[in-house]
């Protein structure tokens, strides 16, 4: 083996190579520090090509990471010649370490993942974590969209308890579900969404695959888009649920935003929305919130939905609904599916992701579905087979428990009716809280500001119009936890706390810029 010596001048890129080293207790790193330069004694493997060039260090157990070297941006002079390494775009996830530190850790294990930086905290879940850490007794968690009772406790629906008890009594087995999920669940979920007598169901034109709640169902759809519509964009509302972008990014689907929220009116920027959908390249996917828009709570009216459908048809776009709150918006499951049914009735093909996290309180069980409405039963069969093919290398088959609960509740007329009643109760509590908050704000705020958007917005969330600094004030001064975009989750608000919250909002709005 020939020995090649690298000088430190050229070793700056090499320092990045060293971050990938795996050092073992009994190995030694031969580094001599001399006048800020160090020499590294390298063994050059004779059989290498330039793209797979490796540096193996003097001690048999020290070797450079093959993959880290690909991040080298420079040329490395080794011996007489020079080896050039493939240039690679800077990887935003990798944090490079300085050379001198490595010499100190010579005797210690260095992990292959030394360069891994800390991921930023999730903006939504991070709020709950901060809330937990707060010891102030006045604290209020209006972060995550999880339903709470008036006593601000999590709520397990009675129908869910009944279903679970039934399941235990029956002593059913825990065998794998098919990749597409529990058949009984897939049937009832599609019927719940479209209506059992809907032509799309009768004609078997819907490909339904059980997914891991809304997130998992969206991810399956994103993977389908990436594979079958490479380059096609997804248009998402500005703003939208924070995780939408992550899902499309990780699925390598490009996205862009359409105007949605108008801060001036604290309402819908309808003209902007239509214009942006029109301007997008033909054949884009348009992500729409079926009802109870997250985070704004602002939904189009039925007439506006018609116009949105018009422009989507005109541009040959494909509508992609995220239905996370069916039943939570108005209290009626059917009414809340209105937008989806409107589009389906026009004969349009669409994608619909569903979640049972909120409306059945099954947050942690991860139960939802992706539905693809096609023009023919044959296309639906094929699409379903491809969704399965995408799911198998992700998690093989979906979890059974939540699916059985939903199938039992929705499939049993008594339980289904009980569920409808519980949903009306939950949606009703939120409506009451909205009213009380509005009343408190109007009574306390002498500025004449119009707070009626609180009553007009729908579902779990309200977009208060508070900016980041003001939202910070809510947290820092008032111990009210919310997301920085000004969104509050009314599901986490009790009637008892409405006045306190009104004080906080008024203070933040008027006294903080």
């Amino acid at each position: 083996m020939s020995h090649l010596i690298a000088s430190l001048n050229d070793l700056d890129p090499l320092s990045k190579v060293l971050t990938g080293f795996d050092l073992f207790r009994h190995s030694a790193l031969f580094i001599n520090k001399r006048n800020n330069h160090s020499k590294l004694i390298c063994n050059h493997r004779p059989s290498m090509t330039s793209t797979s060039t490796m540096l193996s260090l003097a001690s048999a157990s020290l070797t450079a990471s093959l993959s880290v070297h690909e991040n080298l941006k420079g040329r490395l002079k080794l011996g007489g010649g020079s080896l050039s390494f493939k240039k690679e775009k800077a990887n935003p996830f990798i944090n490079t370490k300085s050379f001198s530190r490595i010499s100190m850790v010579a005797a210690i294990k260095v992990s292959r993942f030394e360069g891994v930086t800390m991921a930023p905290p999730d903006p939504i879940l991070g709020v709950s974590e901060a809330f937990k850490a707060d010891n102030d007794e006045k604290k209020l968690n209006l972060g995550v969209g999880a339903y709470r009772t008036e006593e601000l406790q999590p709520y397990v629906l009675n129908v869910v308890k009944k279903a679970e008890n039934l399941m235990v009594e029956r002593g059913e087995n825990k065998e794998y579900l098919p990749i597409e999920g529990l058949a009984a669940f897939n049937k009832v979920t599609a019927e719940l969404l479209f209506g059992a007598s809907n032509p799309v169901i009768k004609e078997q034109r819907v490909a339904t695959v059980q997914g891991l709640s809304g997130t998992g169902s969206l991810r399956l759809a994103a993977a389908l888009i990436e594979r079958y519509f490479p380059g096609a964009k997804v248009l998402i509302s500005s703003p939208t649920w924070g995780n939408h972008k992550n899902i499309f990014n990780d699925a390598r689907v490009p996205w862009s935003e359409y105007r949605y929220y108008d801060p001036k009116t604290v309402g819908l920027d309808f003209d902007g929305m239509i214009a942006d959908i029109k301007a997008a390249p033909e054949g884009s996917f348009v992500l729409l919130h079926g009802c109870a828009h997250n985070p704004t709570g602002i939904d189009p009216t039925p007439e506006q939905w018609e116009k949105i459908a018009d422009v989507i048809q005109e541009k040959n776009h494909i509508p992609f609904f995220d239905v996370a709150y069916q039943g939570f918006a108005s209290g009626s499951l059917d009414a809340d599916a209105g937008s989806v049914r409107l589009f389906a009735a026009r004969g349009m093909e669409l994608l619909v992701a569903q979640s049972y996290s909120k409306n059945l309180g099954l947050y942690a069980e991860r139960i939802g579905a992706i539905n693809v409405v096609c023009t023919s039963a044959d296309a639906a069969t094929r699409v379903k087979s491809q969704l399965k093919r995408l799911a198998r290398p992700m998690y093989s088959n979906p979890p059974i428990h939540g699916a059985k609960i939903v199938a039992n509740v929705v499939g049993d007329p008594t339980l289904f009716n009980e569920w409808k009643a519980e949903m009306e109760m939950m949606a009703g509590r939120i409506k009451n809280v909205r009213q009380k908050l509005y009343d408190s704000l109007t009574a306390k705020d002498k500025s004449g500001k119009d707070w009626s958007f609180i009553l007009e917005q729908i579902g779990m969330f309200s977009f208060t119009g508070l900016n980041k600094v003001q939202s910070d004030n809510m947290t820092n001064k008032w111990h009210v936890y919310m997301t920085k975009d000004g969104r509050i989750s009314l599901a986490g608000l009790s009637l008892a706390k409405c006045e306190y919250l009104a004080d906080a909002i008024i203070d933040s709005f008027h006294n903080v810029s």
Partner: protein
């Protein structure tokens, strides 16, 4: 674009979608379910069956279930304590894999996250590997579980193989395996089955594992263990983790995907754990945060019911002891069936050597049957298995073993 998209509109958006080929494993189950023949046997998917051929829910699971079902106290905690439950699961899982007294467990220098069974744990790791070592390939044993290459490919990691199975001896091709480890570029990622290799049932001995571990050190390879059958190889959970413990002793910082599908019979609940050993606790926090971010964009968090079941079982000494017993029962029954099948074939005076049936370990037997012979078994005898000749011994019972032996004998006697 507009004329073709108008044409598209008439045909529909999804016209370009061709039907996906059936998954080789679940496709077998589908075919089996559709078959009405009374003698049918399913030797396809690796799911345990009792001696009546029925799926089993372990008693320890039923006990745990009764504790958590429909009960207000636990339910109320369910949503808000999801993080705590997840952490508990990770805590107990890593003890199983690494040993409860392992330093990495005690010092917390590992990043652990609950995952969607083994598949989900593998996928998380594959995405993580791609993110932090872009363009690094992964090496699988040849053969391996067919879903492994799908998982890593969908994560955009190139796949390679190393030699493993010796079709003539129906055992391990150790020399070739070591060669491939030596010849791979330094610091490559390798996936290893620590016990009960799927599909062959062929495992290295402890001595061979030590040599593999040593060579991994020399080459600085990254060992990723897919632990799907802990308990099923020998019946002893610690013994089945021996390979992992050897690597740990040798100072490797490994990665590990664990599944509770088989050994706890929680197939449909999708409970597993991904752990990555790190240099220190700080790095462990960073790595975990990245894994959580990957999971967040895929499914947010795994379903809690399964996590609750597993952590309830593992953290209660009595229930855990019951579980350990039940795992042994399952492993013993399979070993029994292996012996019986081999004896039956030998009694039929089969011209072939069937030693491998009892030498191979775990749920699967790599029978050595050809695809044509498998097709005959399916068509003529209604015996379902994958075309690579892999038989899930869990599907063999005292009442069907003679039928099975006769069928195998029939399709192999003249070859």
């Amino acid at each position: 674009m507009s004329t073709s998209t108008k044409a598209l509109n008439r045909l529909g958006w999804w016209d370009r979608v061709s039907p996906a080929s059936k998954d080789p494993i679940t496709g077998v189950t589908e075919a089996f379910l559709a078959d009405t023949n009374p003698h049918k046997i399913n030797l396809g998917v690796g799911a345990y069956r009792d001696d009546e051929g029925k799926p089993v829910v372990l008693q320890c699971v039923r006990n745990a279930e009764a504790k958590i079902a429909g009960c207000d106290f636990i339910n109320v905690g369910r949503e808000s304590n999801a993080t705590a439950v997840g952490s508990k699961l990770v805590e107990e899982s890593v003890k199983l894999a690494y040993g409860k007294d392992a330093n990495v467990v005690k010092e917390g220098t590992l990043a652990g996250l609950q995952a969607l069974s083994g598949t989900g744990a593998c996928r998380l790791f594959a995405e993580f590997q791609r993110r932090f070592h872009p363009e690094s390939p992964i090496y699988f044993p040849d053969p391996t579980w067919p879903n492994h290459p799908n998982i890593w490919r969908d994560a955009q990691v190139p796949v390679r193989t190393f030699q493993y199975y010796h079709p003539v001896s129906k055992g391990l091709n150790f020399a070739a395996l070591m060669d491939d480890i030596k010849n791979a570029p330094d610091a490559s990622f390798f996936l290893l089955h620590p016990c009960a290799h799927n599909p062959t049932g062929v495992d290295p001995t402890a001595e061979q594992w030590r040599e593999i571990s040593y060579q991994f050190k020399v080459k600085s390879h990254f060992p990723f263990f897919d632990v799907a059958y802990q308990g099923f190889a020998s019946g002893d959970l610690d013994m089945d983790a021996q390979a992992i413990r050897i690597f740990l002793e040798d100072g490797h910082l490994i990665g590990c995907a664990q599944s509770f599908a088989k050994n706890m019979g929680l197939y449909g609940h999708r409970v597993g754990c991904l752990s990555v050993l790190c240099a220190d606790a700080k790095q462990a926090v960073a790595v975990k945060s990245q894994l959580q971010q990957i999971a967040r964009a895929m499914y947010s968090n795994p379903p809690i019911h399964g996590l609750l079941l597993v952590s309830t079982i593992l953290s209660d000494p009595e229930t855990k002891a019951l579980w350990v017993k039940e795992v042994k029962v399952m492993a013993n029954r399979i070993q029994q069936m292996r012996s019986t099948l081999r004896e039956s074939l030998e009694k039929l005076a089969s011209p072939l050597n069937w030693e491998h049936i009892t030498k191979q370990v775990g749920m699967f037997c790599f029978s050595g049957l050809t695809a044509d012979q498998v097709d005959r078994l399916v068509r003529e005898f209604h015996i379902y298995l994958t075309r690579d000749g892999r038989m899930s011994m869990a599907g063999v019972t005292t009442s069907n073993v003679s039928y099975l032996a006769n069928a195998i004998h029939e399709v192999t006697r003249y070859n």
